[in-house]
Amino acid sequence: MRFMDMFSRTKTIEGGEARQWIEGRPPDSFTLLDVRQPEEYERGHLPGAVLIPLPELEKRLGEINPDKPVLAY
C-alpha cells in the first residue's frame, strides 16, 4: 500500500443510504465495485457494478478511475 493511502478516508454506509447515494448521482460520476467471486456476482449484483474479486484487487487497481468516488461491496 502506498504511504499516502494510509491517510485516505473510507466511509461505511448502510444499504438504504447507498441506494439514495447512487440514485442521486449521474451514473458516470462514480464507480460501483463488487469484490465478490464471479458466481456470487452472477447471483445478483448492483446494476453497472464492476467485478474485481478481492484477491485480485491490488493488481487490478489500475482498472478503477481514481478521480471518481467508489462504492464497494
Binding site: 461505511t12 454506509i13 448502510e14 444499504g15 438504504g16 447507498a18 441506494r19 447512487i22 440514485e23 449521474p26 451514473p27 458516470d28 464507480t31 460501483l32 463488487d34 465478490r36 464471479p38 456470487e40 456476482y41 452472477e42 447471483r43 445478483g44 449484483h45 448492483l46 446494476p47 453497472g48 457494478a49 464492476v50 467485478l51 462504492l71 464497494a72 461491496y73
Partner: protein
C-alpha cells in the same frame, strides 16, 4: 456498503460476467458503438412488440406497447445523434439495414429470454416483473459497456442510455408498487 449485497434493497441484475459484453471489442468507433446501441434498442423493441402481441391481458399489452414505444424514441435519439456526427438526410434506412439486432439490451437473444420466462403471457404483475428485470439488465449492460471504453464520447452514448433505463425503472417501480 455495510452488510454487502444483503443490505441492498434495490434492484439487482443477474447478468453473467460476460453477458452482452461479447458484442464489443473495446476498440469500436463512436459510429460503430451507436450502431450497436441502435441494434440493442431495436432488439428490445421487437421483443416488447412480440410480448404485446402474445399477451391476453389488456394492461400487460399496454405496458409492453409503452415500453416498445420508448425503445423507438431511443432509436430516434440515437439516429439524430449519429446524423449530427456525419450523416446525411435519407440515410436512416441504410443505417438500419446494416444493423442486425443480435441481442436485446440485456445481452440475451429474444429466444433465450422467452424460453426462460414462460410466464411472460401471464398476468400484469408477472409482466411488470419481467419488464423490470429486462430494464435492470439493460441498465447493467450499458453501464458496463461504458466502463469498457476510455473515449468520453463513446461513454456518453452508453451513459445517456443508462439514464433512460433508470427512468424506465423508476416508472415501472412506481407501477409495481401500486399493485398487490
Amino acid at each position: 456498503m455495510n452488510g454487502g449485497i444483503d443490505a441492498w434493497d434495490g434492484l439487482v441484475s443477474r447478468a453473467t460476467v460476460g453477458q452482452g459484453m461479447y458484442l464489443i471489442e473495446g476498440d469500436e468507433t463512436v459510429e460503430e458503438v451507436m450502431a450497436l446501441a441502435y441494434g440493442l434498442e431495436e432488439g428490445s423493441r421487437r421483443f416488447y412488440q412480440e410480448l404485446a402481441e402474445r399477451s391476453d391481458v389488456p394492461e400487460a399489452r399496454r405496458l409492453f406497447e409503452t415500453l416498445r414505444d420508448a425503445e423507438i424514441r431511443h432509436e430516434d435519439q440515437l439516429w439524430e445523434r449519429y446524423r449530427a456526427l456525419h450523416g446525411k438526410p435519407g440515410e436512416r434506412r441504410m443505417f438500419e439495414e446494416n444493423i442486425v439486432p443480435r441481442a436485446l439490451e440485456g445481452g440475451l437473444s429474444p429466444d433465450q429470454l422467452l424460453t426462460g420466462h414462460p410466464e411472460v403471457v401471464g398476468g400484469y404483475a408477472d409482466s411488470l416483473d419481467l419488464a423490470m428485470a429486462m430494464e435492470t439488465d439493460a441498465l447493467d449492460l450499458y453501464l458496463r459497456m461504458a466502463a469498457a471504453f476510455d473515449d468520453a464520447e463513446i461513454q456518453s452514448v452508453f451513459f445517456e442510455l443508462a439514464e433512460e433505463e433508470r427512468g424506465h425503472l423508476k416508472k415501472l417501480g412506481d407501477l409495481r408498487g401500486s399493485r398487490p
